[in-house]
Symmetry: D2
Subunit: 153 residues, 4 copies
């Protein structure tokens, strides 16, 4: 992301997504961030490797936790940029330092489907940290997991 | 696990570990359960693929969440077997049905090290569910993450 | 609540509210449940006794936790009644046994205002337990705290 | 607390306890902080007013949440003082600004007993926030609730 001048949110979003999609653990899991509808979502196609319970063929809970933590982080960064409190340089420092402090995942339905999609929204954005709310649905729109995460920056 | 008769805890533990180590998402992540010191621990060697923050070379938070969820589940099963409330058949039904209801992960230090080891203990074991407390340390014994999970069975 | 026959939801709601409003800790705090708009909400007027931080005159975090736990419990009972899975007698047993397993509260803004109002919604309703999502706002509609709770029954 | 010079930890602890015990919501609940064994604990005698479930005569979950939030806050302040990172003046600013960001309570056993005692320990202390672990036991030493809280300062 260009650190010296302000770019439109869709440019910032595209740059964030491009950078995030190189994260080793996301490429390993084949999770993909996409900037769309003025926000960022995370996509994952179901694969045998992601199964946690072979008897019932259900997604491992860690997959949902990974998606929810990741989407919360990137959407928090996008919102920091969008709100642009303080100078742009301060915003960039915050974005680079952003770290998950705690994460809660609620498993609402067995993880079944052909594709999983995760989104996130800000519920608190403070000077030194924020709180994010996340959801993962399957390709039929069924809610599989919800989450809350606290970040520091 | 032999469902018709009671075996010593170390036999039950070894059988559980053997079964769990075939879980697709655990083999994909190269996480390995071991029965030792009368309990079960989960081991993971650091690898490039597990990184979440390339700038600081830190483990992705989803890796810790995956390990903590997994170790909590297998240790809960072992404890259900050990405590053997109700008939053995009821215990086996509970073990098969065991599912994470919610998970909290607290990130205590940046995930750095050569190896990560996770353990779990029961803090509540009820008729229909239990609460587990987990910790992940690195090879130097530094606490990287702690967790709490509620399970239903 | 009449345990032998089914009553309309507004009658069940009124009966639940009347019973809950006798709970010692709710009367002690002067928290009041009301059935309105087909759901139940919890109301609390600001008082000096409820302050946790005298320097900034902010509501104690325990007040929000108490309201969120209480509203989640009563709305879970109402939903168990409304959905009426199993026989009515089974529903009543579940309602009587309902107990909070875990509660998360996220503090989003300093607790200031003349009145606080809490609401809750079901996000998972299973055979042996449910997950509730709660929010507390002040009289200006500002979100003070959100919560998630897991219940067993 | 004297803000201009450093006092021994037991003096700082006694001053913190004296200040905290004037908090309106703690006096209203009759919760009492005590500095003892080099740490601070919170004490509460069982009373009819604190009951949440009259059928089973069980403590309201909000009482445990209030005690755990409070003990975490005061012990975090004591530890900030003890560790004295940065100047004393910075420490005092942190102590004054300390606010709960999120709180998780796990209810482990029905709240019954003559007295309840809560303690807390630091599991992470960072530059801008900390994570605390808490426990509430009854007078027989039975664990009634455990908690985790994230604070910002």
């Amino acid at each position: 992301m260009d650190k010296t001048k302000r770019v439109p949110i869709e440019v910032a979003g595209a740059q964030l997504v491009a950078a995030f999609n190189k994260t080793p653990y996301l490429t390993f899991n084949q999770m993909e961030m996409r900037f769309e509808d003025d926000t960022i979502r995370c996509y994952l196609d179901a694969r045998r490797e992601l199964v946690g319970n072979t008897h019932f063929n259900i997604l491992h809970g860690g997959v949902a936790a990974t998606m929810l933590d990741s989407i919360a982080g990137i959407v928090a960064m996008l919102e920091l940029y969008r709100r642009n409190q303080g100078t742009l340089s301060e915003q960039h420092k915050k974005m680079a330092r952003l770290a998950t402090v705690d994460l809660r995942v609620d498993y609402l339905a067995p993880g079944r489907g052909k594709q999983y999609i995760a989104n996130a929204e800000v519920i608190r954005m403070g000077r030194k940290g924020c709180t994010m709310r996340m959801e993962m649905v399957n390709d039929e729109g069924k809610s599989i997991a919800m989450g809350i995460a606290t970040f520091a920056y």
